[in-house]
Structure formats: structure tokens, C-alpha cells
């Protein structure tokens, strides 16, 4: 049944990807004004307007352009960056690991903080611990990541003369330096998500802990740890997993600011620079990769959801 369910989800994902690819392809072409003329004047991407239009394939009907672009994209050819003159996929390949590493680290930070804290807050409802954790969560939700990042960078420099951990250290050259450098932005990025995730975990767990079967477990004399973690959390965690899946695009979106502040050459910052450079093949390519990634993550979340809750499969 699980296979059939996954096959159905996969089939549904294909039109989603096609629609997304159409949007990704069309949007840059709807920008008002003669963008190509602007690209030529600002960036000299070709000798003249005609050459640039031909280079971008804009001298053909739009549906032809779309199907050609899609056909190449399916084969892994996202074109060439006008700015760096290198294949877009190669450029993305260099930067995507940095963004993914940051996003995954941020999610891990969020999960490591949120789930235990949410469980304790739920298990100790209306105690000092619960109020403290809930207040901290509201604070975490209220504080913008860029502000926190700024404080984390500036204050140690003022107080102790510490150099900020900005600029990228390659993992192959200095593993320890790399981890230390990535940890701070990941923690900052993870805090806001941890706050929301903690509140959700607490709320869902409280709901589950009021169920009859939990009361039965208590009456059987089971230990609190077993009731909360085995019988309670396993049921409460399903919406949290869904939340993680839906939040991943937000985490990737958040990396734009964090990558800029910490000088990390990730994909988000590359997209930001590509927009400034009017590098449309890169803009399209990065967006397509991000969209595909999000669809894949949602598919994975659905699969996990189905694995955790057999009712979903039927």
C-alpha cells in the first residue's frame, strides 16, 4: 500500500513541477521595460541587442523557448551563466552544498532545541519551566534573524575584540574552522524555527496526552517517560514533521540574509547576485532547482508521514 501511495504522490508531483517550471520560465519575461537592452547597456553580455537576444534565445516564439529550455533542463543542462560564463548547473553545484548544509544544520538545531523543550513544556504544563520555555519561544519568534546575527557579530568585537566569523572556510582546508564558522549562522537561522516548532510540539503533545489511551497508560502504571515519549510523542510528532517539511523553503529563504551577513558563498546569495547582475539563466536555473528540491522534500515528508501513520496510506 505504501508503494502505491508513493506512486500516486509522485504522479501528482509531476504537474506541480511542470507548473512551477512554467512560472519560473515566464516570470523574468514579464518584467516591465526592455530588460535585454538594460542587460546589454549595464553588463555588456553581447556585442549588440540582436546578439544578446539570440544568445538568450529570445528571437523565437515563447512556447518554443519554453520547451527547448525544459528539454535541456530535464537533461541537466540549465544553460550558461551570462555573468561567470560557466554552466549554471556547475555554478549551482558549487554553491548548493553550502546552502543545504546551512539549512540542514539550522533544522537540526531547531529540532534539537524544539522537540525536547516542547516535550518538557507539555509534560510540565503551567509550571515555571513551561512559562519560561513559552516566553523564550515568543522571544525567539519575535527577534529577527538579521538583528540577532548583527548583535552576534558586533558585540563580541566591541567587548572582546573578536574578529567576526565571516568569510567562507572550505571544509577540505580546515574542517574545524568550517564547522565553527557554519555553526553560528545555523544557530541563528535555527532559533526562529525552533521557537515555532517548540510551540507546535507542546500543543500537539498536550492534545495527545489528554487522549483516553494515554489515561489508560497512566492507569496501567507505566512510567512517565514511556507514556510521554513512546505513546504521546510518536503521535504528536506527525504534524511537527509536516511542519518541518513546509518550513524548509522558509529556511532556504532565510539563508539569503544570513549568507550575506556571514559572507557565505551559498546558492541563495548567488541568486541574489544573479538578480543584481540580470543573469537570467542563473535566476531561472536556481529557482527551478529550489522548486524541484521543495517538491522532493514534500514528497519525502509525505512518505515519512505515511510510514509513521498507517491510516494515511489507506
Amino acid at each position: 500500500m505504501l508503494r502505491r501511495y508513493l506512486a500516486k504522490r509522485l504522479v501528482v508531483a509531476i504537474p506541480s513541477l511542470l507548473i512551477a517550471s512554467l512560472i519560473v520560465f515566464t516570470l523574468p519575461r514579464l518584467i516591465p521595460g526592455d530588460v535585454v537592452a538594460m542587460m546589454l547597456e549595464e553588463k555588456a553580455y553581447a556585442k549588440d541587442l540582436e546578439e544578446l537576444r539570440a544568445k538568450l534565445g529570445l528571437n523565437r516564439p515563447i512556447y518554443v523557448q519554453y520547451f527547448e529550455w525544459l528539454g535541456r533542463a530535464v537533461q541537466g543542462d540549465l544553460g550558461e551563466s551570462l555573468w561567470t560564463r560557466r554552466p549554471v548547473l556547475e555554478e549551482i553545484g558549487q554553491r548548493l552544498p553550502i546552502t543545504l548544509e546551512l539549512a540542514v544544520m539550522a533544522l537540526v538545531v531547531a529540532i534539537v532545541i524544539a522537540v525536547p523543550v516542547g516535550v518538557i513544556a507539555a509534560a510540565r504544563q503551567d509550571t515555571v519551566q513551561d512559562y519560561t520555555f513559552r516566553s523564550a519561544a515568543i522571544l525567539g519568534l519575535s527577534v529577527p534573524g538579521f538583528w540577532l546575527a548583527t548583535l552576534v557579530i558586533v558585540l563580541p568585537a566591541i567587548w572582546w575584540g573578536w574578529r567576526p566569523l565571516t568569510g567562507y572556510v572550505e571544509i577540505g582546508k580546515d574542517f574545524r574552522g568550517h564547522v565553527i564558522q557554519m555553526a553560528l549562522p545555523a544557530v541563528i537561522l535555527g532559533i526562529a524555527f525552533a521557537a515555532a516548532m517548540m510551540r507546535l510540539t507542546r500543543g500537539m503533545l498536550l492534545e495527545v496526552l489528554r487522549q483516553d489511551y494515554v489515561r489508560t497508560a497512566w492507569s496501567k502504571g507505566l512510567r512517565e517517560r514511556v507514556i510521554v515519549l513512546k505513546h504521546g510523542l510518536r503521535n504528536a510528532i506527525i504534524p511537527v514533521i509536516t511542519y518541518i517539511g513546509t518550513q524548509l523553503p522558509q529556511v532556504i529563504g532565510g539563508t539569503v540574509v544570513i549568507e550575506t551577513i556571514f559572507g557565505l558563498p551559498g546558492m541563495s546569495r548567488f541568486l541574489f547576485d544573479a538578480i543584481n547582475q540580470r543573469d537570467y539563466p542563473v535566476i531561472q536555473g536556481v529557482n527551478l532547482v529550489v522548486v524541484s528540491f521543495i517538491v522532493a522534500i514534500n514528497l519525502a515528508v509525505d512518505a515519512l508521514y505515511a510510514a509513521l501513520d498507517p491510516r494515511i496510506r489507506y
Binding site: E41, K43, A157, T166, I261, G263, N276
Partner: protein, 543 residues
Amino acid sequence: MSLTRRELLIAGGLTATGAVILPSLAPAQQPKRGGTLNLRLWDPPHFDLHAAGGLSYKLHIPMSFTHGRLVRHKTGPSVTPGTFQFEPDLAESWTQPNDTTYVFKLRRGVRWHNKPPANGREFVADDVVYTIKRFQETKGHANAHMLRAVDKVEAVDKYTVKFTLKEPSAWFLDTLASPMVVAMVNRETSEKLGDLKKPESFIGTGPWMLDSYRPNQGMTLVRNPGYFIPGLPHIDKIEIFVDEDNASRTASFLAGKYDLGWEFPGQINRTDWVQIKDTLKQKRPTLKTAEFPANVMSHISMRTDQKPFNDVRVRHAISHAIDRQGIIDAVAEGVGVYNAAVPAALKDWAVPVNQLGEGAKYFKHDPAEAKRLLAAAGYPNGFQGTICFTTYGSTVLVDSTQIILKNLKDVGIDAKLETKEYGAYITSCFYGKFDSMTYGPQTPFLEPDSFLYGQYYPDEPRNQSHIKDPVLADMLVRQRRTFDLAKRKEQVAEIQRYLAKQQYYVTTNSGVYVAVWDGALHNYGPNIGYDYGGRLMAAWLNR
């Protein structure tokens, strides 16, 4: 400019007799070789000086480390910021047989960086010819006016280049010395790679060479062991960081990561400076500072070829409406300078506003007089207009613009702000494609001609206000043909007095830079302009 043409020619003549003039870089103390200088700069759009987008300080600054010019500006602690004297660079001497001919004798033994495809080949006269022609052949070059006077450039022999000008151009040497115009580029590299946009094409004759480029992160420049001045540069490595976040830059500077102020040209914005100067006294007590006016000048451009701006009374009214001191107080911590048509930063050429004669009065904030002038011009209730604008990512500029809008509103001019994305702004409003008004900073040139001829002569790309004034055009051409420095200074002053009366552009204030550098950096003198490399060539580090 403190050298007269005569002094200049004598200098050139002396060198022609065999006495090679080396740049005036003799330090007072014994220099120390080695070390790494850390700078915060910007990521260049690409590496081709002549291609569109290459007209950017983001490229000009790194290029000042790696590329040479025929003539350069003197640098060092003895140079007063805002003043410029010539000295030989790739040319060891020059003569001017007549008003339209310049002959340059090149240094022998100058070599391109020892990287393929140049491979340390000798720099010769053909390279100069190639560079100048490449510049001239670039279509729509925004700085085309700077070399428009050049009719012909020829290699007389391997080490002699002859420039023939279409007309006398007293600013020709200034043009050649400008770090934003004619850095010499390598022919083989351009031909092999198709253009000079890639980092591997960044090959020059300068004191440092590009070692590595990391997009969006920075670049490393290393000492050129084959540099033609023996012993220079003293600093082994220049580490350039791209740092797009001001908090990060501030923290990095506080912690000693950068050796020069993080903003152009090695300064700290006054608003930041005021906040951190006390902390810096504790954290970096040996820091050195110098203050001098910025040559970045903003102005309001107007369609002076159309109503209502074709009426001089309207332009006077706008100038009276602007509260320049109010802007300085609000956005520059009360420290700033007023600008005539030539920015006050160019000390040898700018006329102080209070010495502009009859036109000086239009720089006074006088809303009542502005209203009277508008009424006299037939606009008793003011008029509506637009101001084309881009933020340049500067909060100072945005705040100034808000004050200007309010000032105009106070006298009845209801100007709607039309904010454009930077690229759209540059390709339209910056080049005069707008309907009403534009406000923004102008390119910070180092000589007055670019501010005057470039912005006021009919049909020049930078003539944003669409000025067609035959009297002015004649004055602009005449100063270009006057080689006598004293006479030219008077002509330039006269033009500024004339322009103060016309108010074709309503200039606002410039800031006063706080140049900051690490105490370990010796024999360094800050100045305006992009020539970081020139200013650091004879500097050394003693950490």
C-alpha cells in the same frame, strides 16, 4: 594640480636627456619588506575596463594595484588630499612639440605579469596603441569624452608613442593619469580569451598580480617580482575581502581585520565613525586618521530644455528652496561642504561658494525668495514634477532626498519620487532620460573638466540637464585649449561663477571623509580617487 605646463615639460625634457625620474616615493624611514595588507573592497562586475559595467569603482580600484598607466598621480604622506601632481609611470618622459601632439618615451624593460598568455613579455609602444584604440572602439563608452580629443595614436618605435589630438586639450595628461580611464591592457590576453572579462585576463604591468579570485568573497593579490621599480612594492600580499554587511564590516574593523577604513576611499562613514571612534581609541589606539572633503557630489538635474526648468528663475527658486545646511546637519553629523559646479574637494580648482559673486546668493536657503521667484516665473502656486532616483544602497542619500522633497514642497513644488532599480536608473535618468528632475551622486572625477565639459557641453552623455548654452559651450572649449595653468584656473573659476548664476544643476553638499588606516601601515597618505594601488605602492607594514 601644482605643476605648470612649463614645469611639466621641463620634467619631461630632463628625463629625455637620460635622467630617469622615478615616482616620488622616497620614504622618510627605512621601509620593511613583507606582510599582508587586508582591505574591504567590492566584487567587480567583471574584469574588462572597456566593456559596459567595467566603468565601475569596483573594477577600477583592484585595477590600480595590477595595471599601469603612462602617467600617474604622485602619492604619499606629503600629498595634500584633493590635490594631484603628475609623475611618470610607464612613460619615463614626455614632450609636447605643439599644442596637439604629445610624444611619450616608454621605460625600457617594463614587463607584463608573468602569466599566460602575456608570459612576462616586454611592454612596448604597440601596447599603448592597442589600449587606446580598444577604449575608443568601445561603443557608448560613458567616459568617451575623456579621450575624444585623440585623433591618432602611433607607435613611432618600440619605445615611443605619439598622440595626435584633434584639438588642443589641456587636460590630456590628467586623462592619462586618471585611474578610471586608460590602464594598459594586454593584447594577447584579450585576443585569446575574446575579451577581458574573466579573472584570468587580469594581467597588467602593475606592482601586484592577481593570485586568486573568489566570486563574492574576495581576491588575493601578490607582489609582482618583476615590477619595474626595484624594491617596490614593499607589501607582499593584498588580501581583499568582499563584505556586504555593514555590521560585519564594522565588527571586522573594530577587531583589526581591515587595515584601511572599509568605505571608499579607505574611510569610515561619519555616521559610523561617530558611533565607534571611542571604542576604536581603546581597541586600536595606533590608528591614524585624516579628514578631507569628498569629491562625490550630488545634484538635482532638470530638463532645462523644457518648461518650467527652462526659466532661470525656476532654477534659482529650486536652489533657494534647498536647505543645504539642514541636510548636512541631518545626515552628516553637521560636517560637510557646499559645492559649486566643481566639487570643493578639488582644492586647486573649486571656487568656494561665498566667492561665486552674484551667483553665491542662490546657495542661501530662502523659501520666501524661492516662492517669489516662482510667482515671477508664472508659477505662484508652484508646480508638480517628478524626481528620478535610486538609493545606491545609501541611507544617507535616501535621507537627503527626503529633505529635498520636503524643501521643494515647502515652496510649492510637489515632486513625486520615482525610485528606480539601480541598473534602470543608470541606463535612463543618469544619462538624461527623464521627464522632470533627477537627484543623485555623480562620478567622482579628479579634475574639473569632467565635471564641467562632461556635464555641461551640448550632447555629452552626462549632460543630464540637456543644456545647450552657446556662451557656456564656448567657455568650456576655451578652457580646454588653454595650457597656461594660471589662465586656465581663472577660466574654470569664471565658468563656476557663470554656472552659479545659471543653476543648470542644483548642487548639494558633499561629506567630509574620515580616512582611517592602521598604525602599522607606514608611508601611506590618503587621497580621493580610486588609486588605492598607487597610494600603497611605496607603503610598508611594521606589525
